[in-house]
């Protein structure tokens, strides 16, 4: 593939707020390149400056140092009207209007492109229809916003941003408050938009697992560290995801792609088939049981489900994990 000029890039960017002569630096020395056709996920703990970064990209907040280039041009020199034709956003703030229908709301996305009265041309109508189709919400077109579920509303907000027709789409935690199915749906939808519409999609998220599955690029932000960017899989292999986990007790498990507690004692080998095994050991970890006495053996059986605890001179059976844990806790006391 030929070298692709990034639509948005940052050089030695310092983020923060300036109030009078006092400036509060939030993050410094940020470098990144955002490319079209890619889904980029920005991950980092709360308060690390992700929202500040977004505001700075949108031109609503001047950077304290360095610069952001949109199509090679400094974002400070571009007016917010021009920026609004290039960058569309979905924010975390809840919108408080219910009288609009989904379609009317999506039409608002065309505001940067319409005349002073906001009258839609044929081209605008086409873009609106396309955005509604791309997000699969045709059936909701005439529903008022007040009657939507959280997931439906989020899709409508994404449709509005798509209709705004910028080359860049930025979403601040679009999957927060959503159920599992909707989270998957939204992230896959965003991936589809990035691929099919050739947009640069930047998503701030805390959903590590879904992000690993869908993102083309990760940006990891952590207090006091430079922004780490790269292919998610590369970052996993290099153990770089650990910078998201400041506590030394936590690590990112390469094998099953989950965050784990380090240094925990391994529960004595449990005999039995895998899924049962896994859940039993998880339950034991949660109740802080990491080891059984040396001589005891644990076996877990399917059909009927039972847990057998054998010591040299006794055999005990349990028919639920809960009973088993109760028993262990009694011994401890």
């Amino acid at each position: 593939m030929a070298y692709q000029e990034p639509i948005l890039c940052a050089r030695n960017l310092n983020l923060g707020y300036q109030k009078g002569r006092i400036s509060k630096k939030i993050a410094e020395n940020i470098n990144f390149r955002l490319e079209k056709g890619k889904l980029t996920c920005l991950l980092g703990p709360n308060g690390v400056g992700k929202s500040t970064l977004i505001k700075t990209i949108m031109g609503q907040l001047p950077p304290l140092g360095g610069q952001i280039l949109l199509n090679g041009k400094g974002i400070q020199k571009i007016g917010i009207k021009e920026i609004s034709k290039k960058i569309a956003v979905v924010l975390t703030e809840k919108i408080s209007t219910g009288t609009l229908t989904v379609r009317q709301m999506v039409e608002l996305g065309r505001i940067p492109h319409t005349g002073w009265l906001g009258k839609l041309t044929e081209r605008d109508e086409m873009k609106v229809n396309k955005a509604i189709r791309a997000t699969n919400i045709q059936y909701l077109s005439d529903t008022p916003l007040s009657e939507l579920s959280d997931g439906q509303l989020q899709k409508a907000m994404i449709a509005r941003a798509v209709a705004q027709d910028g080359e860049i789409l930025i979403l601040d935690e679009p999957t927060a408050h959503l159920d599992l199915v909707n989270r998957f749906e939204i992230m896959h939808l965003l991936r589809k938009i990035a691929k099919e519409e050739k947009k640069a999609v930047l998503v701030v998220t805390h959903d590590l697992e879904i992000a690993i599955e869908t993102a083309d690029e990760f940006w990891l932000m952590q207090c006091g560290l430079p922004l780490v960017t790269g292919l998610p899989e590369d970052l996993i292999i290099r153990q770089e995801l650990d910078i998201l986990l400041p506590s030394e007790k936590l690590t990112f498990d390469k094998i099953d792609g989950k965050v784990r507690v380090l240094n925990e004692m391994v529960v004595n080998a449990i005999k039995g088939s895998n899924p049962l095994n896994k859940w039993l050991s998880l339950a034991m970890k949660k109740s802080n049981i990491h080891q059984l006495s040396e001589d005891s053996k644990l076996e877990i059986k399917e059909e009927p489900f039972s847990i057998e605890l054998k010591t040299e001179n006794s055999l005990q059976s349990f028919y639920s994990i809960e009973d088993f844990l109760k028993f262990l806790n009694n011994i401890k006391e």
């Binding site: 949108m58 609503q60 917010i80 009207k81 021009e82 920026i83 609004s84 034709k85 960058i87 569309a88 956003v89 924010l91 703030e93 919108i95 408080s96 209007t97 219910g98 009288t99 609009l100 009317q104 709301m105 608002l108 996305g109 505001i111 940067p112 319409t114 002073w116 009265l117 906001g118 008022p144 007040s146 705004q164």
Partner: protein
């Protein structure tokens, strides 16, 4: 006829100005209970009139009826509204957050009412009566000459709204979204302050304070037309405002009697239950 026509026209103009300023404030502040009283503009006009009518003995002037007196009242009300408007503008310069601006507006209103109370306490019975009558509002006091002034003020006040209709639609999604769609919030805020100041200020100057029209009418527009689009809501509010105020004026003209009820009392009597009913509706805040 010579009395009725100017009165009806005044009702129409006052209905339009108050409703349109209420609509702007509700959308700008994203608050369903905002209205011309909220930014303290009507109270400011009240302060101007109170100073003119009741502080006379302290400052050594006296105002009694007659054409001169009426114009003096209009000028005093306008000055009062402009004064509060300037204070609000200074605050708007400093404060970026709309909610803060709203609260400061309410505080201005309370402070101004307190000053009026102090003035009322020290004023003489005659002056107090004059002010009380003014504060009851009146649509009947305007001459054709004043109507011309009122019409010009209305047109000037509505121009910024027409200019910013699209921005108001964008504001339905909140400030941040509006900004992301290229709306310059600062410019919109100044336009809103200027426009509502001229509209509500002139209505109060010519008719005295008229309550509830500014709050209730935009909601009626949303209810009737089931939309949030300001391209529809602006003419709808203006129309409904004019109709309602004409209707209130009709009621205030007691049938078969020469007596008229004070218009502010009539609009309050109709408007207060209306606002309560709106709030009690299940989805009021959601549908706003």
């Amino acid at each position: 006829m010579e009395y009725r026509l100017p009165k009806a026209l005044t009702a129409v103009l006052a209905g339009i100005t108050l409703s349109v300023s209420g609509l702007q404030m509700q959308t700008f502040f994203r608050n369903p209970l905002a209205g011309p009283y909220v930014l303290g503009i009507s109270s400011g006009a009240g302060l101007g009139v109170a100073l003119l009518l009741m502080a006379g003995s302290a400052f050594g002037w006296a105002v009694y009826g007659g054409t001169l007196g009426v114009w003096a009242i209009i000028i005093a009300a306008s000055l009062g509204a402009v004064l509060v408007l300037l204070l609000m503008s200074l605050t708007a310069w400093k404060v970026r957050d709309s909610m803060t601006l709203l609260i400061i507006g309410l505080m201005f209103g309370s402070a101004v009412s307190a000053i009026i109370s102090v003035l009322a306490y020290f004023s003489e019975a005659e002056q107090l009566k004059l002010f009380t009558i003014w504060s009851m509002g009146s649509l009947g006091g305007t001459t054709f000459g004043q109507l011309k002034g009122f019409s010009v003020a209305t047109i000037i006040g509505i121009l910024p709204v027409l200019w910013m209709l699209k921005s108001y639609n964008a504001m339905l999604l909140g400030e941040s979204y509006a900004e992301s769609m290229g709306v310059r919030i600062h410019r919109l805020r100044w336009g809103m302050i200027l426009s509502t100041g001229i509209l509500a200020g002139s209505a109060t100057a010519f008719c005295g304070p008229i309550a509830f029209i500014g709050i209730a009418v935009p909601h009626m527009g949303r209810l009737v037309f089931r939309t949030g689009d300001h391209r529809i809501l602006l003419p709808a509010s203006a129309l409904i405002g004019a109709i309602i105020l004409l209707f209130c004026d009709g009621i205030s003209q007691l049938p078969g009697s020469a007596q008229t009820l004070p218009i502010n009392a009539v609009t309050s009597l109709i408007g207060a239950p209306m606002v309560i009913w709106l709030i009690l509706r299940r989805n009021f805040s959601k549908e706003f």
